[in-house]
C-alpha cells in the first residue's frame, strides 16, 4: 500500500528519476486507502456541501432586502431535529454492533434508523401542512420560500439516504456479503446520516438566528 502523501509531495515527484521509478514500480494503483463507496460518498458530500453553501449564501444575500419577513419556527421542527439526532446516534451504535458481529442488535438498529428517518420526513411534511394552514405560503414571503426549498432539498437527500439504507439493510439481512464488505456499507450510510444531521443543524440554526 502506498504511503500517505500530501498533495504537494505528490505534485513534486519526478517520475523520470531512478529512485522515483523504483518507488513508483511498487505502487499498487490506489491513491487513498478508502473503499470506493466511502470515497464516492465523500465526493458526493463535497458536492452537496457546495450546493448547501450556495443556498446559504443566496439566503444571506436575499435576507438583506427590506421585504424580508421572518417566519415562525413551529415547535414540531424541534421534535424533528431531535428525531434526526437520535437516528444519527442509533446509526453510530449500529456500526459498533456490526463491528462486534452482533446480528440481531445490528438488524434492530438498522430497522430503527429507517423508522426514524421516515418519521423525520413525515414530521417535516406535517410542519409544511401546519405552515400552509396558517397562511405561510411560499409566495407570501421569500423567507417562507427559502424554508420550503431548504426542507425539500434536505428531504431529498434523506430520501436518497433511505434508498441506500434499504439496499444495505436487505443485503445485511440476506447475509450475501462478507463481513468487511457489509460493515463498509453500514459505515458509509452512517457517515451520510451524520452529514445530513450536520446540514440540518446548520440550516435550522440559520433560519432560527435570522
Amino acid at each position: 500500500m502506498s504511503k500517505k502523501k500530501s498533495i504537494f509531495q505528490l505534485l513534486t515527484e519526478k517520475p523520470w528519476e531512478k529512485d522515483q521509478i523504483e518507488a513508483d514500480n511498487e505502487h499498487q494503483g490506489q491513491t487513498l486507502n478508502l473503499s470506493k463507496q466511502k470515497l464516492g460518498l465523500r465526493t458526493i458530500m463535497a458536492a452537496s456541501t457546495v450546493l448547501f453553501s450556495l443556498f446559504i449564501v443566496a439566503y444571506s444575500d436575499r435576507m438583506l432586502i427590506s421585504d424580508w419577513k421572518n417566519m415562525p419556527e413551529p415547535w414540531l421542527l424541534w421534535l424533528n431535529t431531535v428525531i434526526l439526532v437520535i437516528s444519527s446516534l442509533v446509526f453510530h451504535m449500529t456500526t459498533k454492533y456490526a463491528e462486534k458481529d452482533d446480528f440481531y442488535k445490528t438488524k434492530n438498529g438498522l430497522y430503527f434508523v429507517g423508522f426514524l428517518a421516515y418519521s423525520f420526513l413525515i414530521g417535516q411534511l406535517i410542519v409544511w401542512y401546519q405552515l400552509m394552514n396558517t397562511g405561510y405560503y411560499a409566495t407570501t414571503n421569500v423567507a417562507n420560500a427559502f424554508f420550503y426549498l431548504f426542507t425539500t432539498i434536505h428531504g431529498l437527500h434523506i430520501v436518497g439516504g433511505i434508498y441506500f439504507w434499504g439496499k444495505t439493510t436487505s443485503k445485511f439481512i440476506k447475509r450475501s456479503l462478507k463481513k468487511e464488505e457489509i460493515n463498509n456499507l453500514i459505515d458509509t450510510c452512517a457517515v451520510y446520516w451524520h452529514f445530513l444531521l450536520a446540514v440540518w443543524i446548520v440550516l435550522f440554526g440559520l433560519m432560527l438566528s435570522s
Binding site: M1, S2, L10, L11, T12, E13, K14, P15, W16, E17, I21, D24, N25, E26, H27, Q28, G29, Q30, T31, L32, L34, K36, L39, G40, T43, I44, A46, A47, S48, V50, L51, L54, F55, A58, D61, R62, I65, S66, D67, W68, A138, T139, V142, A145, L149, I153
Partner: protein, 609 residues
C-alpha cells in the same frame, strides 16, 4: 501463492543489492497485487451490450454521438442566425426566432456538446483505458449518467415544440427578463430549459463521481498519479471543477424555476409588466448573475482543461518527443483549475459593481494568464527540435495552439475593467469567446477523434478528406472571427437581430456581415465532410495495426485493438514508467510503452527533461 511471494522477495533483495547490474531479469519484479481485481457486469443481450451498456467504452461512444448530434443542431442554428445577419430586411427570421436560436445555439454548444463530449465522451473512453482499469468504479451509475443526459437533451429539444417555442433569454438566462412576458418562451421554453439543465447536472454528477474515483483508486499497478498522461490530468481536474461549479447552476435553476412556476421572489424584483404590477417583490437579479457565473466561469475551464491535456498528448506523440515540463504542465492544470473559481465576476463588469470588486477580479483574471502562458510555452518547446509528423492530429493541435493564443490574448484585453467597459456587449466579445472556447476546443476534439479513431474502429480516417476538412475549418474560422474583432472595435453591438445601414453603423460592417456568413456556410459544410469521413471510414478506412501512432500510453497496449470487454484480457497491465519516453537514446524503437518491462529495453537511457 506463497511460492510466488517468496520468489518475489528474493527478486526484490537481489534488486536491492545489485542495483547496478541491470542484466538480471528481476528488475521487472513488482509486488503482488494487494487489491482484488474488479468484478465486471457482463452483458447478455443486444440491449444490454449496445443500448443500456455498462461498459465505459460504449458509454463514451454513446455520449460522443449524442453530443455531436445535438451539436449539429447548434451548427444549423448558427447558419440560420448568420443568414439573418447578412441579409437584414429579408424577413428571414423574426426577432423572437433570432433570440431563440442565439440562446439554443449557446447552451447547446457549451453544455450539451463540449462538456458532454469532453467529459462524458473522452472521459468514459479514455479514463479506464489510460489508467489501466477494467472499467469505471460504478458501471451502473455510469449508465444512469448517460441516460440522464439523453433525457436532458430530449427535454431541451422538446422546448422547440411547446407553445411559444424555446426560451430566447440568451444562454445566460438572466432574470427577470427570462421569465417575464415579452421574452420568447418565457412561460414554456424556459421551464424546459431549466429542467433540462437540472437533469444534466444530476446526470453529470453521477458520471463525475465515476471519473474521480476511477482515476484516484482503480489505476494499474505502478501507475502513480505523476505517471498519468496529461489527458487524464485534464479530464480529472475538469471533473473536480464541474463537481464544485455545477451546484451553482443547480441552485440558480431551481430558484428560477420556483420564481416562474410558483411565483416566489428569489430573483424577481417588483416589476410592472404590460401595464400590470407583478406579484413579485424584492428579488435580486444580480444574485442570479453571481450564481450563474460562479458556474459559468469554471465551465470555461471544464471545457478547456481536457482540451489542454489531450493536446499535450497529441503533440508529444506526433512530434516523437517528451512533453516539455511535465510537472509544470500538471501544476498549470491544477493551478488554472483552482484560480478559475476566483474570477467569475469579470463577466459582470458592467453590472454596476463596486470598483474595488472589479479591480480584484481583474487582477485574478490576469493572474490566470500565467499558468496558461506556461502551457503555451511548453507546447511550443515540446515541438522544438521534435520529429514533427504532420499527421491530422498534429495539424489540428497546431491549429489549436495558434487559435488558443489568439483567443487568450483578446482575453487579456477584456479582463481589464477599463478596456472591457467599452468593448462589452460588442462583437469583440463574441469573437473572443468563440476563438478561445469554441474553435480552440473543437480543433482539439477533431484532432483527438482522428487520433483515437483507430482505437475505436481499428481503422484510420481518410487522410485527404481530413486535410481538406482541417484547412477549411482552420482558415474558415479565422475568416469568421477576425472580422468580428474589427466589428467590435467599431462598436457593433451583439444580440441585435438586424443591423441596417445607419449613421451609427459603418458600411464596412454590412459588407463584413455578408463575408462572415459566406465563411460560416462553407465551414459548416466542411463539417459534413468530416461526418461523411467519420461514418464511411468505419467500413472503408485503411486498416490500422496495433498501436498505429507508436504511442506509449496504456490505451494502445491492450491485447486486442479495439479493446474488448474488460479491456486487458486476463492480466492487468503493470506500469514501469511515464507515458512520454519518446526517442530515448539507446532504445531500439523511438518509443517505450508504459507497460514494457525494463529488461526488454536494456541500454536505453532515459533523459531528464
Amino acid at each position: 501463492m506463497s511460492d510466488e511471494y517468496e520468489h518475489k522477495l528474493e527478486a526484490k533483495s537481489d534488486y536491492a543489492t545489485e542495483a547496478s547490474s541491470v542484466s538480471t531479469p528481476d528488475i521487472d519484479a513488482v509486488p503482488d497485487a494487494e487489491l482484488p481485481d474488479q468484478e465486471l457486469y457482463h452483458s447478455h443481450s443486444w440491449w444490454t451490450t449496445y443500448v443500456f451498456s455498462q461498459d465505459a467504452k460504449y458509454i463514451g461512444i454513446q455520449y460522443a454521438l449524442t453530443a455531436v448530434g445535438t451539436g449539429l443542431l447548434g451548427l444549423v442554428l448558427s447558419w440560420l442566425m448568420r443568414i439573418q445577419l447578412a441579409f437584414p430586411g429579408l424577413g428571414w427570421l423574426d426577432p423572437a426566432a433570432y433570440y431563440q436560436f442565439v440562446t439554443m445555439h449557446g447552451m447547446i454548444m457549451v453544455v450539451y456538446l463540449l462538456t458532454a463530449l469532453f467529459l462524458g465522451g473522452f472521459g468514459n473512453l479514455l479514463i479506464p483505458l489510460m489508467c489501466g482499469a477494467r472499467d469505471m468504479a460504478f458501471p451502473y451509475v455510469n449508465m444512469l449518467s448517460y441516460w440522464a443526459f439523453v433525457v436532458a437533451v430530449l427535454v431541451l429539444l422538446a422546448s422547440f415544440f411547446v407553445p411559444g417555442g424555446p426560451t430566447g433569454a440568451g444562454w445566460t438566462l438572466y432574470p427577470p427578463q427570462a421569465i417575464t412576458a415579452g421574452t420568447p418562451g418565457y412561460n414554456g421554453g424556459i421551464i424546459l430549459m431549466l429542467i433540462s439543465l437540472i437533469l444534466f447536472v444530476a446526470g453529470f454528477t453521477m458520471g463525475g463521481l465515476n471519473y474521480i474515483i476511477t482515476v484516484l483508486q482503480l489505476r494499474a499497478r505502478g501507475m502513480t498519479l505523476m505517471r498519468l498522461p496529461l489527458t487524464i490530468w485534464g479530464i480529472f481536474t475538469a471533473t473536480v471543477l464541474a463537481m464544485f461549479a455545477f451546484p451553482a447552476l443547480l441552485v440558480g435553476c431551481l430558484m428560477m424555476t420556483l420564481d416562474s412556476l410558483l411565483g416566489t421572489s428569489f430573483f424577481m424584483p417588483a416589476m410592472v409588466s404590460l401595464g400590470e404590477k407583478l406579484t413579485h417583490e424584492g428579488g435580486s437579479p444580480i444574485l442570479f448573475q453571481h450564481l450563474f457565473w460562479f458556474f459559468g466561469h469554471p465551465e470555461v475551464y471544464i471545457v478547456a482543461l481536457p482540451a489542454f491535456g489531450i493536446v499535450s498528448d497529441l503533440l508529444s506523440v506526433h512530434s516523437r518527443k517528451t512533453i516539455f515540463g511535465y510537472r509544470m504542465m500538471v501544476w498549470a492544470i491544477v493551478g488554472i483549475g483552482a484560480l478559475s473559481f476566483f474570477v467569475w465576476a469579470h463577466h459582470m463588469y458592467v453590472s454596476g459593481m463596486n470598483p474595488w470588486f472589479g479591480f480584484f477580479f481583474a487582477t485574478t483574471t490576469l493572474i490566470i494568464a500565467v499558468p496558461t502562458a506556461i502551457k503555451v510555452y511548453n507546447w511550443i518547446l515540446t515541438l522544438w527540435r521534435g520529429n514533427i509528423q504532420l499527421s491530422l492530429p498534429m495539424l489540428f493541435s497546431l491549429g489549436f495552439i495558434v487559435t488558443f493564443l489568439n483567443g487568450g490574448l483578446t482575453g487579456l484585453f477584456l479582463g481589464n475593467v477599463t478596456v472591457d467597459v467599452p468593448l462589452s456587449d460588442t462583437y469583440f466579445v463574441v469573437a473572443h469567446f468563440h476563438m478561445v472556447m469554441g474553435i480552440a476546443p473543437i480543433l482539439v476534439i477533431f484532432g483527438a477523434i482522428y487520433h483515437w479513431y483507430p482505437l475505436i474502429t481499428g481503422r484510420f480516417m481518410n487522410e485527404t478528406l481530413g486535410k481538406i476538412h482541417f484547412w477549411i475549418t482552420f482558415i474558415g474560422s479565422y475568416a469568421i472571427y477576425f472580422p468580428m474583432h474589427y466589428q467590435g472595435f467599431v462598436g457593433v453591438p451583439r444580440r441585435y437581430f438586424e443591423i441596417y445601414d445607419s449613421p451609427y453603423i459603418d458600411t464596412s460592417t454590412l459588407l463584413l456581415n455578408k463575408f462572415i456568413t459566406i465563411a460560416v456556410l462553407i465551414v459548416g459544410a466542411a463539417q459534413l465532410l468530416f461526418l461523411y469521413n467519420l461514418i464511411t471510414s468505419a467500413r472503408l478506412g485503411k486498416k490500422a495495426e496495433k498501436n498505429p501512432w507508436k504511442a506509449n500510453s496504456l490505451e494502445w497496449q491492450t491485447p486486442q485493438m479495439p479493446p474488448e470487454h474488460g479491456n486487458w484480457g486476463k492480466e492487468l497491465p503493470k506500469v514501469y514508467r511515464w507515458p512520454y519516453d519518446f526517442s530515448v537514446p539507446g532504445a531500439k524503437e523511438d518509443y517505450i510503452p508504459q507497460n514494457q518491462p525494463p529488461s526488454e529495453i536494456i541500454g536505453a537511457k532515459v533523459e531528464k527533461t
